[in-house]
């Protein structure tokens, strides 16, 4: 698979390029629409099939996305346009609950290894994980090319940074899994969030490989 297809060619959904583009689109949408109250999800590519996530009763909402990779300029993030068919579940209640909970903490929140080795996420850490999912969507969008497929693999470390204003700030050290090289890439991101103002990544950088 050394060359890309001709521009006008229709690719079958199972071809690797749509798979990578879908993952990128999902990451972008996660950043745009994600929040502590909305966890991660990407289901089967290009088929309108109702799939229930194990253990939960949520139904799937279909999204179409268009991804434009800038083949000439490797440093430019791909363009992503998306349309969500229907409504995403409203997460205001969960978001506000999380916001108030964190605001009222006496000590800054600190956590490691989310999920743990067994895939477990304590219920109170779910919003932290969902926020990381949303924020990593931004990072993944920025670094993706047509030769990469990134996933958030794990939060190694997260620390809240207390602020005097109304925003919540978290400093994350995450691990990204890159599916083509199979690499696990440590990444740092500073995340700002507010229930009304959404998610912002104010700082992010690749970290040295843990030797």
């Amino acid at each position: 698979m050394s060359q890309g297809p001709s521009p006008a060619a229709e690719l079958p959904p199972s071809h690797c390029l749509p798979g990578r583009a879908a993952a990128l689109a999902a990451a972008f949408i996660a950043w745009r629409r994600g929040s502590p109250g909305r966890g991660p999800a990407l289901r089967a590519l290009s088929r309108a099939r109702r799939q229930v996530r194990p253990g939960r009763g949520d139904s799937t909402v279909n999204c179409t996305a268009e991804v434009l990779y800038h083949l000439g300029n490797k440093n430019a993030a791909p363009d992503v346009q998306f349309t969500i068919e229907g409504e995403l579940k409203n997460t205001d209640e969960a978001d506000n609950l999380f916001y108030n909970r964190i605001k009222s903490l006496k000590n800054e929140l600190v956590a490691e290894n989310v999920p743990d080795s067994y895939g477990n996420v304590p219920p109170e850490m779910e919003p932290i994980r969902a926020l990381a999912w949303a924020a990593s969507g931004y990072v993944i969008w920025q670094i993706s090319t047509e030769n990469t497929k990134y996933q958030l693999a794990q939060i190694k470390h997260v620390k809240q940074v207390k602020r005097s204003d109304e925003y919540l700030e978290f400093d994350y050290k995450i691990l990204l899994h890159e599916n083509v090289s199979q690499e696990i890439i440590p990444w740092q991101m500073t995340v700002l969030w507010h229930p009304q103002h959404g998610t912002e990544v104010t700082q992010n950088s690749r970290q040295p490989q843990h030797v």
Binding site: M1, A23, A44, G55, Y118, G119, V121, Q154, Q182, Q209
Partner: protein
Amino acid sequence: MNMKLMIEQGQVWLYNRIVQMKHSVQIYPHPSWIICTKMWLFLGMTFSLGILIPGKLSLNLQYDGDQVLHIVPETFQQVQHLQHLCSTSMLDLWKPQLPEDIQAGEDLHIRVPAPLVQEVKDSLDQHMISYKVLIHDVQELVDESMPKQRSHRQIPEGYNYTEYHPMEEIYKWMTQIQESNSELVTQHHLGKTIENRTIYYLQISQPSNKPKKIIWMDCGIHAREWISPAFCQWFVKEILQNYKSDAMIRRFLQNLDLYILPVLNVDGYIYSWEAERLWRKNRSPYMNGTCYGTDLNRNFNSSWGSVGVSYNCTSEIFCGSGPESEPETRAVAQFIEKKKTDILCYLTIHSYGQYILTPYGSTTTPPSNNEELMHVAQKAAAALMGKHGTSYKVGSTSSILYSNSGSSRDWAHMIGIPFSYTFELRDNGTHAFTLPSDQIQPTCEETMLAVTTIIDYVDQKYFPGGAVMLTSGSLSLSLCLSVVFTWIAS
């Protein structure tokens, strides 16, 4: 002995276990400890639920929102009020057992059903009785500690197939499986890892005079893909539990021997438990021990080193110093090479991504039997999806994933094994390598269907005899019947 007393005893025991459980969760014990405690709790729950007043309560008691309050009454008036409250409101006294035993200065634990919680708390406030909430939601605690419902008996007794197991436990499991199923299962030494650990495979073979063909399945070539060894163990358990009752399994075991390798990359698997959860490769030292690990699935002699690899040891797809440079690779390759004329099917199990992958990764040129390979894979994916709705993509590695050389699946097909597949199990990336254990069962159930579809196809293709026999049987039966009717009629 009266019913009420038995229930109370059961609840007291259950309560003790819940408190112990709560305690143990806070101090994060070793996972096997939790399994032990969960088993105790399960036994406790069975005990207490098994003798419920028939008709009044069902086996699935719900304690949603129920709270357990801890009170230390200070005065006699408070004691009286509490006794009154317990008897009139039908509150569930956990400590002491009877209202008459409530005393000032002594601990009182009562379970308050959810609808009464506010009312009771108001009443306590009114009477200036201070309380503490000991358990905020009884059902939550019960749920946390309940093991999954299993409809089958465990083989061996007590082994939990819906949890991830460290290597030591898998070694023990293999020994026990052979011991308790010795008529069918033998454990064999395949080779040694770079750190000198033994690689074992299990052979499931129905005793018979006729020569058999072989199905090979290996798991755990990549350390971090924990769902893979979990599936191999599940598969063995399912075969051993159902080979007498399941017609399809019975049929193919007449003709096929199953060779199952639960963990190929033993060193890497252990390393992912003890040091680095997301480790992938083996633990081969390079560059004077400054760099570790070869990607075993880039190390086989199938266009080795040509595409989709790195020659740098620091890479996750480092292909090693040469084809079959690693002892783990050699152990598998030598064995399969020796038996290749009898091996009809080579399956290798990975995660994640939800794919059934056909040859090749090293080239886009399709294999000679591509159409049939795709047809069977699609059948398998359809069977898989029928179970829980999980969608798998089917196709060659090079077209739907990426290019890679040196994979075991490519090599197996290249040396002549016709049905060679790579499975990438759940999920799609949401949990990636850290698939939660509550997904082990559904993943294994659906994958079982896919794998048995493939084995069944191979069996029917190479041993079509059974079908013919059936036809001649029904022919002779209808012949008999027509003779009888003719005779009656005449």
